[in-house]
């Protein structure tokens, strides 16, 4: 027993040491955001001074949080809606152009962000969608489609056909079968796709950097990045650290809550090959 415990010790030293290295930046940042620093709103004692700076910065933290929330919600809704229907079509129906469309959807992955963002900047201008949160969400949802469509196709294919057939025989239309029978069966896939889309939309930086011009329409990552280089080279580390906390907390919480589904989704289908 003792020798076995001793045999394990090196493992826990290595794994634990690495865990400390991985956790340290996160913990340090959270601590620094409430610690005193010269040149910040929190120059003595611990407290929320940096968060107050953030609350009042430019259009205000609440506006930026709202922007990020709207963009993320729209992106998740669009991604889920399009990939649910698309996944159903690709998994269960035959129609002309099916394979071509599927390959084109996957081809989005092969094209660098920057290559698409330059013409999208021009194109959204023509569609009157430049500098709008809706335009931003449409673009972010498009970037999510390859993974989402692929994931949903696999999810539908994993559902036994008999389930759907019995619904059809019972007089449901395909839409009824989708809503009543298939939707509950593909829920794990939807959760993975939704979490993926949320993290991507909440965290994305380069797309709003290019597509959003007004500072009051900026999502949070863009606003925090702008905040630190404000006012004549005077850098506010405290407010930036507070901004990172506000950015990180929803992602970390959501990931911890859903990690079981997320990891399972990862393990089941998306990584075959």
């Amino acid at each position: 027993m003792l020798t076995r415990a001793l045999g394990r010790t090196p493992y826990y030293v290595v794994a634990g040491g690495l865990a400390v290295i991985f956790l340290f930046p996160l913990l340090w940042n959270a601590w620094a955001s409430v610690s005193p620093q010269p040149g910040t709103a929190q120059d003595s004692g611990h407290g929320l001074g940096n968060y107050r700076t953030l609350l009042e910065y430019d259009a205000g933290l609440l506006q930026y949080l709202l922007n990020s929330t709207v963009v993320s919600a729209l992106t998740v809704a669009l991604t889920l809606g399009v990939s649910l229907l698309g996944g159903y079509a690709f998994a269960r129906f035959e129609f002309p152009g099916k394979n071509l469309l599927f390959l084109l959807t996957l081809a989005i992955l092969m094209v660098p962000y920057a290559t698409l963002l330059i013409p999208l900047y021009v194109l959204l201008g023509r569609l009157q969608l430049q500098n709008s949160l809706l335009g931003l969400s449409l673009v972010l949802a498009m970037f999510q489609l390859p993974f989402a469509t692929f994931m949903m196709r696999i999810s539908f294919e994993a559902v036994p056909r008999e389930l759907e057939e019995s619904a059809l025989v019972d007089g449901c239309g395909t839409a009824g079968a989708l809503r009543r029978v298939l939707l509950p069966a593909v829920r794990p896939g939807l959760i993975t796709v939704g979490l993926f889309a949320f993290l991507a939309a909440w965290n994305d930086f380069i797309t709003p950097l290019i597509l959003i011009a007004d500072s009051e329409k900026a999502p949070l990552p863009l606003a925090v990045a702008n905040l630190r280089q404000q006012s004549m080279g005077a850098v506010d580390y405290g407010a930036t650290e507070a901004g990172v906390v506000v950015l990180a907390v929803p992602c970390l919480l959501l990931f911890l809550l859903l990690q079981r589904h997320y990891v399972r989704g990862f393990m089941s289908g998306a990584l075959k090959g």
């Binding site: 035959e94 394979n99 094209v111 698409l116 013409p119 390859p146 990172v244 959501l254 990891v263 090959g273």
Partner: protein
């Protein structure tokens, strides 16, 4: 993880004809009409995907091609054809070749360090012993953060005034003078690599973990019965059977690193002295600082072509390795 898998899925699922559904439908009169209507319904469900792909993917691709051959100022102005001026502008720019060289150097370093560490992490947490789940979560946690947020975080961490790293290194007597993490070209590059490895190691660990868990236990047991050492098992069983997952990680890591933007835009701003300007940053500068969308489009096309070529070569290399 999305890149490789589809091919096989597409092959596997190439039209398993709707036998069952057709059987169900042929039992009713008018099944032919029903069958035709089923095709239409399939088209209907796929329509939103088709609209997205056409409007936000194919159309911009055509447009970027056209832009790369035209004079295209950011704001209003003459938009006549000027081929091939944009392309010669790109390659003639004094920043172009340094940016290409820097991007390649960064890609090589990140790929080696990141995948090496990810493999180590995956091997560490592979067996289910007490604490393994906790360690998996901890290693992955930075992956839930955005790259821009992580870069802002490390920007504070590396700060000479408020960052703790300099003090820690001095207390450990590893250095005897203050470190300037972003001050010299080499330290800026290495500091960025450290950030990227911290952020993505858990993600690649997850990919490799999936690969490790698909290696059947019996193979290991058989090897152990034959008296193979740990190193032998790793070299002749784990590594070869892990090849698909390693190949996928390699593809994602190389592609991602070649397109690096956020970390350099936020952390180093391309400095010091333009020593950390990547190719995608150059696209951004051409478009939104030099206000020349045409040249930015030409540079985008060059990046796209290089990436396609690289992926084709990589797939070929992998296939050849499979055959041998």
């Amino acid at each position: 993880m999305q890149v490789k898998a589809p091919d096989r899925a597409a092959a596997e699922h190439r039209a398993p004809p709707e036998h069952a559904a057709r059987r169900a439908l042929t039992t009713t009169p008018g099944w032919r009409r029903a069958w035709r209507s089923r095709r239409l319904q399939g088209l209907g469900y796929a329509a939103p995907t088709a609209v997205f792909v056409a409007v936000f993917f194919l159309l911009p691709l055509l447009l970027v091609g056209q832009m790369s051959l035209s004079d295209w100022p950011l704001l209003a102005g003459d938009r006549g054809a000027n081929a091939p001026e944009n392309y010669t502008d790109v390659t003639g720019s004094p920043l172009f070749w340094p940016a290409v060289r820097f991007t390649l150097l960064y890609t090589v370093i990140v790929t080696v360090v990141l995948l090496g560490l990810a493999l180590l992490l995956a091997l560490l947490v592979q067996e289910s012993r007490p604490g393994a789940g906790f360690f998996r979560t901890v290693y992955f946690l930075p992956g839930a953060l955005g790259l821009a947020s992580a870069s802002l975080l490390f920007w504070g961490l590396y700060s000479p005034t408020t960052g703790p790293l300099g003090d820690i290194l001095e207390n450990l007597a590893l250095v005897d003078e203050p470190v300037s993490f972003l001050g010299t070209p080499t330290s800026a590059l290495l500091s960025t690599v450290f950030l990227v490895v911290w952020k993505f190691a858990g993600f690649y660990m997850l990919i490799l973990l999936v690969g490790l868990q698909r290696i059947p236990h019996e193979v290991y047991e058989a090897a152990r019965m034959d008296g193979a050492s740990r190193a032998q098992i790793f070299r002749s069983i784990t590594l070869p059977l892990l090849r698909p997952s390693l190949a996928l990680s390699l593809l994602l890591c190389v592609t991602g690193s070649l397109l690096a933007f956020d970390q350099f835009f936020v952390l180093t701003k391309g400095g010091p002295d333009n020593s950390t300007v990547t190719v995608v940053q150059l696209v951004y500068r051409e478009a939104f600082q030099r206000l020349d969308l045409g040249t930015a489009a030409a540079l985008s096309i060059i990046v796209l072509a290089a990436l396609l070529l690289l992926n084709v070569l990589q797939f070929r290399g992998l296939r050849r390795a499979d055959e041998s």
